[in-house]
């Protein structure tokens, strides 16, 4: 951990609000980018990031430095996302996901950027498959760490990553 960051964390744990704000500001972009990948919904990702900041303030005294501060924030954000999913009906969740993907596609077309079929396939996966895939194959976390983040057994993470990649391969296969 960076010395400067360690000092900020220590100050934040002592109740220094400016140190905490600085710490959260430094990790904000990273957190939102992660949440966009996890949710595939930029608006929801921004909302979850705001909630994560507030939750981090409430729980900062419990941060024990065993994981990186960014990983700790990711864990809080992921759990808030999972909680928000539990509160919504499956149909509403699906509609929101579809709307968001359409909006992203439109943004890509408007900005002259190329849209990837992989994003469509990833957006079509259930959250329980998408989250471990993003954490494992994009952020490079170990299965054990992901299990801790998602609060599920390590074996479940392995099978979800495996099944998720299999589904993606099937979706992207030219024979289908």
């Amino acid at each position: 951990m960076h010395e400067d960051e360690a000092a900020l964390i220590a100050d934040a744990k002592r109740g220094d609000r400016t140190a905490l704000s600085l710490l959260l500001q430094r990790h904000y972009t990273f957190l939102v980018k992660y949440l966009i990948k996890a949710t595939m919904q930029p608006t929801l990702a921004e909302d979850l990031a705001q909630e994560t900041m507030l939750k981090a303030m409430e729980k900062i005294k419990l941060y024990n430095g065993q994981s990186r501060f960014s990983s700790w924030l990711i864990t809080i954000g992921t759990r808030l996302y999972i909680d928000s999913l539990r509160k919504k009906k499956r149909e509403i969740r699906w509609q929101e996901q579809e709307q968001s993907l359409r909006k992203l596609k439109w943004q890509a077309a408007y900005g002259g950027a190329e849209w990837s079929d992989v994003l469509d396939a990833l957006g079509g996966l259930s959250e329980e498959l998408r989250l471990p895939i993003v954490l494992k194959h994009y952020y490079g976390y170990a299965y054990e760490e992901i299990a801790g983040m998602l609060d599920i057994p390590e074996g479940t993470v392995k099978s979800r990553v495996h099944n998720g990649i299999k589904s993606l391969r099937k979706e992207l296969s030219p024979h289908d």
């Binding site: 905490l20 966009i36 990948k37 992203l104 994003l119």
Partner: protein, 132 residues
Amino acid sequence: MTDRRSTDPHREIRDIAEEEVRPEPADAGDAAEEAETVRLLRGALDRLDTLAPVFEPELHRLEARLEEHAAFLRRRLIRDLALFLTVASIVLSGLAAVILKVPAVFLLLQAAALAAAPVFIIGFYRKKVNSR
């Protein structure tokens, strides 16, 4: 991709992960296909970063938001404590009145609670077993 990696605090972890997806000789064809899917996935997620730009909040705004939330938490704590103390004092004064004025009712309530406890416990475990 270059942008993200240069500012990504997970850079080292990510590099290890890249090594992990190399094809295994045992099932080389399958593993190669999987590695290709992962490569495409990373590329697509990198592209997603450019599609949805993120704006870092200003420090003073963030600080004000945290301050506001801290005030909300303080207010909620005071409200919860007040509610707890009110309910506790009502229950305790009611109990004291019953014990002092009509002890028979108090003893009856104690006996009823003692008898109801095993019924509730058995019912709770039965429900748990059924739901599995």
